[in-house]
Symmetry: C2
Subunit: 144 residues, 2 copies
């Protein structure tokens, strides 16, 4: 898991660099793609980035067309961030070789094995999410 973690982080840094983005910026684009439209405050909570950093980040991403700010259709006073990710051809092109190789790897397993692996990955993700929360609790405690 450690080895996979190291390579995941490096891969992501290299993808960000090849797209001309900061690593944090690309990560936020990925999060938005996963969550769908959320507010800047929610993005700040998920990433653990300070509100000011998130504002600057959204400005950068909006400028290059990866996200756009929009009024929440359910509550016009709320501003939400809408991912424009899928429309970016260069993003798709950059990730394509990875997706292809991962797809090939997955195809070499039986459905039953894949269920087991997927379940494990889901649980490991949940653990990481919980740990990120814990680190942020510690951070806000030590800064107050």
């Amino acid at each position: 898991m450690r080895g996979l973690g190291t390579r995941t982080v490096l891969y992501q840094q290299n993808v960000a660099a090849s797209l001309g983005l900061y690593n944090n910026d690309l990560k936020s684009v990925d999060i938005l793609r996963e969550t769908g439209p959320i507010t800047a405050g929610e993005l700040s909570k998920i990433t653990g980035l300070a509100t000011g950093s998130v504002t600057a980040l959204i400005d950068r991403l909006e400028k290059v067309g990866y996200v756009r700010r929009a009024n929440d259709p359910n509550d016009r006073r709320r501003v939400i961030l809408v991912p424009e990710y899928e429309y970016k051809e260069e993003v798709g092109n950059t990730y394509r070789p990875l997706h292809q190789s991962m797809h090939e790897l997955a195809s070499s397993y039986t459905d039953e094995d894949l269920d087991l692996i997927t379940q494990f990955i889901g649980k490991a993700s949940a653990i990481l999410e919980e740990q990120i929360k814990q680190l942020n609790v510690k951070k806000s405690k030590s800064s107050s």
Copy 2:
């Protein structure tokens, strides 16, 4: 896998921040721990960082005591980077809750299932390593 990747990167960024390190810096410490002593040139190749960035990074890490430069005992003209990682109590303390939770998760599987999962993770890591190499080939082509 995407969800796990996103959370891995976020977790790592939060750990780095809680240790007062840049994310790239902590990653290099992790790589050194995995590879054992290597040269700055080798670290540059693995991370995809430019030589100048690696030099600055090593300076920072040496200052805070995470690595030290030493002469290669097998070739006195070569300077190698020695990880001092394991001696840092705060690093151990920061990662401990994650390791504990992952250990608990692993304990809930049979040896046979764990073999399958470990094998999958190893293959996924190898794919990521190959993809990082490919991205770097593209990068050096486009910059020359």
